[in-house]
Symmetry: C2
Subunit: 227 residues, 2 copies
DNA sequence: ATCACAATCTTGTCGATGTCAAGATTAATC
DNA sequence: GATTAATCTTGACATCGACAAGATTGTGAT
């Protein structure tokens, strides 16, 4: 097998040599460019110069390929988030946020495969994905615990808020829903800065640095319309 | 035409009578249950007791149906958000957040059609969708302006943070990615409460109520890994 | 009333897809 | 070097979105 990252199969050869890896990387490129919906097995085979049924020998069906992508994606995200663990309690959450957002923007293929709307309906994925996602989420929770102390009731709140914020920002940006509305946010650097500030604001609001009179109140406002 | 909300075509009749509306409402049900990917024109026709080519007379192709759903969804979301405008500046943002989240949870079909990853790639949609989404986003911006004053540099930051938070929370919940990780969040009421608190925390952090020494600093921490 | 026209629905077809089955070719192992 | 396993190919089938052409029904002018 050749060391070079060849994708298309040479015309003479019968075997591709590294079809599985080629399928994965090409699928990631397709998803990054045109979304999960645009991913087709026959199309992949065509791009790689291989017969339409060849992919089936590496991934039994389309869902299996997506599950494999999501699984590898979670491993990579876990690695990126794990590197944050070494940091001090004060900077860990901010670093985790930057790592998450950076992963989403750098690897949109993985991100979409991991967090797309299809993921919950993927056969065989839920348990595996849930466990892997839990690991990533655990890093966020750990960082928050380092901030407010483990066992604090605010841990769950702040973790979830941070997770939602990061997921929302990444999704909006990747799906092209942000630049249309907020011209300032067309650049990636601005997005990262703003998310960084928003995360800091969240902490500031939920766990004020100055010893303010510990008011976890402010929520006794009325809930108008929703039950 | 019968007033009752009939869906399937009576066996004797040649015309359905209200096929367009039946297509829309059935499509919403399908999307709410199984996602946008599961939406098929032939499947819809089958459910409604109509030939496989009948839908084409109301929606030329699949993207057109999705665009129509997204369009109507934006109208409804706009109405829900518009009702917030009457409120006082202090409560407007929280109310807008609850309205947005309530819409997403009550109308998951519309929400997915509006904010799914496909939306940016939908032909003819971008301009229309962008304008409609801008209107909804404008309500958020307006509410924030009522809080910190128009022209304030923090308006854009806080608006974007709130939007990301709401979008992320709604997406995670609808895609089944939350309950697996955070058992407390299996109930909708808890989700709404937590989002409400998170939104309040965001405000608290970015625009402190007490006259704290205006420190928009805290961002001079180093940016370790990302460029 | 009736006639023409437009709207609506049906049947038939085409190319493309995912999946399965069976055979061909190459690599690996004893 | 022969046998076995892995890999790839060809062929087929059901299903899908889309197009074309014909059938049926509602509408409006005369």
């Amino acid at each position: 097998m050749d060391a070079a990252g060849r994708l298309r199969k040479p015309r003479g050869r019968y075997h591709h040599g590294d079809l599985r890896q080629a399928l994965v990387s090409t699928a990631l490129r397709v998803i990054a460019q045109d979304g999960v919906e645009a991913l087709g097995l026959r199309d992949l085979a065509r791009r790689l110069g291989v017969s339409h049924a060849a992919p089936a020998h590496h991934f039994p069906d389309r869902p299996a390929l997506l599950v494999a992508l999501a699984g590898e994606g979670f491993v990579r995200l876990g690695a990126a988030l794990g590197a944050v663990q070494a940091l001090g309690a004060r900077e860990r959450l901010a670093a985790a946020g930057r790592a998450f957002l950076g992963f989403a923007l750098d690897q949109p293929g993985y991100f979409r495969a991991m967090f797309g709307p299809h993921i919950a309906r993927l056969p065989r994925a839920p348990e595996k994905v849930a466990r892997a996602a839990e690991a990533g989420y655990g890093v966020i929770v750990g960082a928050v615990e380092g901030l407010v102390g483990a066992g604090d009731a605010r841990v769950a709140h702040l973790s979830f808020a941070a997770w939602s914020l990061l997921h929302g920002a990444a999704s909006l940006f990747l799906d092209g829903l942000v630049p249309l509305q907020i011209p300032e946010l067309s650049s990636r650097a601005t997005l990262e800065l703003w998310v960084d500030r928003a995360l800091a604001s969240l902490c500031e609001g939920l766990v004020p640095r100055r010893r303010a009179p510990r008011r976890r109140a402010m929520h006794r406002r009325s809930l108008p319309e929703l039950a």
